[in-house]
Symmetry: C2
Subunit: 160 residues, 2 copies
């Protein structure tokens, strides 16, 4: 990741893309969200969703996985260029998570995150706080999930 | 579930209890949050967490699983008494999700949900909206997660 001083409001990250298949939708739902419209095609067809669709929690945790991979790629690329790499602190939570549309079998979701706010941390002066608006958009251009998160990002050495 | 008219602000549900073991913490993290402090005891010991701990998303989706089981028990019990069962609509999202403390291997989390607001839906007059404040508390009485969610609950037939 970049240092806090190099992050600008409006910066946008193409976090990753994922296609939801029926086996993974059912496997996640069996373990964490065993409602019939996430488990069984016929029951889903008779539900208000009309077809098998992923647990909303599944669409959220796929973002987490893609974000971990995305940060790792950025870190590896920076190291390959001989550049220093800023540390990222733990996430403290999420706000305003909205499931806007169902995610059906075969839907491909593009996840992106945009920097909407930056400020220096009061409690940890070596870190800044970056707020991201993250969204998932399906192959028809419809937003299916959105949420806000705030993470600690290391400040450039000597910036304090 | 009860009908909307039978739900009161302040009603509290003991949703369920779950003990996080190391195999499940690692299996979830391998798939959805492969950061070293969720995967490897030694790396976790050297991190700011100090020991292997569950992904925050893992502590959230366990609530979902327990809530599905809890609702199913309530429904089965009501049917066994010959009572009608109110439908629950899909969740639209959640707000203010906070990871307040790490969840370490062996921690037992008690999840509870309290009704904090009720109102009739403007868009779907056959339903009410129930807002829940859900929390997870560990065996030392420390809150580890909290969030707000709002769900549709069917109104009593004849109440409209």
């Amino acid at each position: 990741m970049k240092y806090f001083e190099d992050i600008r409001v409006g910066d946008t990250y193409a976090v990753g893309r994922y296609t939801f298949n029926s086996d993974e939708i059912k496997a996640f739902a069996t373990r964490f969200d065993p409602q019939l419209f996430h488990l069984d095609e016929d029951a889903a067809a008779a539900s208000h969703f009309g077809a098998l669709c992923a647990s909303g929690w599944h669409t959220a945790v796929v973002w987490m996985r893609l974000m971990v991979d995305f940060r790792r790629r950025l870190t590896d690329e920076a190291r390959a260029r001989g550049e220093p790499v800023a540390g990222v602190g733990p996430a403290l939570g999420f706000r305003e998570l909205k499931w806007l549309k169902p995610v059906y079998v075969g839907d491909t979701i593009d996840y992106a995150s945009e920097v909407t706010e930056t400020r220096i941390s009061n409690s940890c002066p070596g870190f800044g706080l970056m707020t991201l608006l993250s969204t998932g958009v399906n192959q028809n251009g419809e937003a299916v999930i959105s949420f806000l998160s705030t993470a600690f990002v290391e400040r450039r050495p000597g910036a304090i």
